[in-house]
């Protein structure tokens, strides 16, 4: 099998060009890739238009020499793996599924079907990403726009708690900072870019204005901005509280009120820190307030390639975007109760199906400790801490490189995938459909038992 290399791989002569392919590494989901595919080596050798993260995504996802299925560490057939997975899920009283943000909507839909059938719990990586923004969205609403509108209209772009230069490199160049738009004919020259963060990052030089807020004081700063926008008084010690002077706040408020089209992009620096959904709610509220003066929108900058699709699919199938529980036979939504980190840390789940995610690396110790005690079914394109502790592990094809399907960009725009080369590994969708059929057969059309 070919080995991944650090630099651009060498090419043979049996090449294929895939135009308008889509990169699914991050939530930008750039769909203007031109891929050169070495069909002999089964790898992508050139990814025109890709950023540094996109190039790593395309070059490093080759065909690895892994068994398709391992059960208790022993090689098994795909059918045996799906049989075992279905049995684990049917036998469990509180089965959960988690992940799903790095697979197409078509696979996500089947995962919901399985959990609906067995009265399980379904959650996605949204809960530890912009789940708090999802909660805020339900509470205060969202003044929103597509990235296309932002590219064409936004003359004030504010990034809060994010570092796109390292996490979403083309967010600047394709959507929000440098591109020329219909009403932004000179690109960056026609925009003012503000970055608000607790530290300087590689994104800072892109900004015209950098505002450094004290860690954990985002909410206070946002609330002060809301007050100033509404012409209210704010505390005289605001600089002591937030690290940001009144002069800077006044300047920012004037810029926000006087722009033609403003956007607040929020990163996980808001959702993962003190305040969580209150921070996101304050951002949405600030954007809504500003619509009394001008046009202003707020959008979360989403991480994984199809995490936005996961929100959409789970929402259209259950009515809720993440953290959904079917134990009573109908969907219930309650972050903190049905979100995976909590369900595991409290030791409630007795089986887990993890799709395209690595909670054994990313979750808190207590949650990981419980994951180690219960039967785990995993599907992933590479070996991870989670696949290593799994009773049943499926090696699957890479979405967007080996498979087609649909993904949602971070602004909820659906985009079709154009695969580059075939994989001998099954797709997430095929494995999930196989498990779903077996689960339904085992239950003979009945619903699974309900947890107490």
């Amino acid at each position: 099998m070919p080995q991944a290399s650090k630099t651009r791989p060498k090419e043979s002569k049996n090449l294929k060009i895939v135009k308008d392919a889509t990169c699914t590494f991050c939530g930008c989901v750039c769909d203007d890739m031109e891929l050169t595919v070495d069909l002999d080596e089964h790898r992508i050798t050139k990814a025109k238009n890709a950023c540094v993260l996109g190039r790593a995504w395309f070059y490093e996802h080759t065909l690895e020499d892994r068994p398709v299925v391992l059960i208790d560490g022993k090689e098994a057939t795909l059918e045996e793996g799906m049989d075992e997975a279905a049995q684990i899920l049917v036998d469990a009283k509180f089965p959960i599924t988690y992940g799903l943000s790095d697979c197409p909507c078509e696979a996500q839909r089947v995962a919901v079907d399985i959990m609906d059938t067995i009265n399980g719990n379904i959650d996605t990586t949204t809960s530890v990403c912009h789940g708090p923004s999802g909660m805020a969205f339900q509470g205060v609403g969202e003044s929103t726009a597509t990235l296309g509108e932002i590219k064409n209209r936004a003359d004030l772009v504010i990034y809060w708690g994010g570092n796109p230069a390292e996490s979403h490199p083309r967010h600047f160049t394709r959507y929000a900072v440098t591109p020329k738009g219909m009403f932004i004919p000179n690109g960056k020259k026609d925009r003012t870019v503000v970055l608000i963060d607790v530290r300087k990052t590689p994104s800072t030089p892109v900004a015209d204005i950098f505002v450094q807020v004290k860690p954990g004081k985002d909410f206070e700063l946002l609330w002060a901005l809301r007050a100033l926008v509404k012409g209210k008084k704010i505390s005289e010690d605001i600089e002591e509280q937030t690290g940001v002077s009144r002069e800077i706040l006044d300047d920012l408020v004037q810029r926000m009120k006087n722009c033609q089209f403003g956007v607040l992009f929020m990163g996980m620096g808001l959702t993962m820190t003190r305040g969580r959904h209150f921070n996101s709610g304050a951002v949405y509220s600030l954007a809504a307030d500003l619509n009394e003066f001008t046009h202003f929108v707020a959008k979360p900058v989403r991480g994984h390639g199809n995490v936005t699709g996961a929100d959409n699919v789970v929402a259209w199938q259950t009515g809720y975007p993440f953290g959904v529980n079917f134990n009573r036979g109908y969907p219930r939504f309650n972050p903190g109760e049905f979100t995976t980190s909590d369900v595991l840390a409290r030791g409630e789940a007795d089986a887990a199906m993890i799709v395209a995610s690595d909670p054994a690396s990313n979750f808190a110790k207590k949650a990981i400790a419980h994951l180690e005690k219960i039967p785990v079914i995993s599907m992933d394109v590479k070996e991870t801490h989670t696949t290593r502790l799994s009773r049943v592990r499926f090696a699957v094809a890479t979405y967007g490189i080996n498979t087609g399907g649909t993904v949602y960009r971070m602004d909820d725009v659906p985009i079709s995938l154009r695969p580059a080369f075939d994989s001998p590994f099954p797709t997430d969708q095929e494995v999930l459909e196989g498990i779903c059929q077996r689960v339904k057969k085992l239950l003979s059309g009945k619903k699974a038992r309900v947890a107490a």
């Binding site: 809960s127 002077s245 620096g269 808190a364």
Partner: protein
């Protein structure tokens, strides 16, 4: 343009609060994404490059001098729930506030994260208070 807030020393405040001696300090850990974390992630999360990236913490050079640390030293980060030993690298004083440590997301930062989500589903993944101790060069 180019406005920015004046620098502040969180470490001075916290050090006074905790009355720590110079080689042990309580600091704020901010895990996050980095470009190297993103590219090495694609090679594999069990590969050496990813493990190296996610066990390398950045600290303000002034804080490093205060704690008698040099680039490449091993430090123990200890929170209420766990600990991790990582490599320490200096960052210019103007780029990283005093009292703050940045580390790319990974298994080490997860070890320090509490499981309480305050009914949000989200553990406090940034802004963690950690005790920093030098453990070796």
């Amino acid at each position: 343009m180019g406005l920015s807030a004046p620098p502040f020393s969180l470490l001075d405040f916290i050090a006074a609060k905790h009355s720590r001696i110079r080689t042990v300090a309580t600091m704020i850990l901010v895990p996050g994404r980095s470009k190297k974390q993103g590219t090495s992630l694609n090679k594999g999360k069990l590969k050496e490059e990813y493990l190296t990236v996610t066990t390398t913490a950045e600290m303000n050079e002034r804080d490093m001098r205060r704690l008698k640390l040099s680039n490449g030293d091993k430090i123990r980060l200890k929170s209420d729930v766990g600990q991790a030993v990582v490599t320490c690298m200096g960052k210019k004083e103007e780029d990283l506030p005093s009292g703050m440590i940045f580390i790319p997301y990974g298994p080490s930062s997860s070890q320090l994260m509490g499981s309480d989500t305050a009914a949000s589903g989200m553990p406090m993944s940034k802004h963690m208070e950690v005790e920093v101790t030098k453990v070796g060069s």
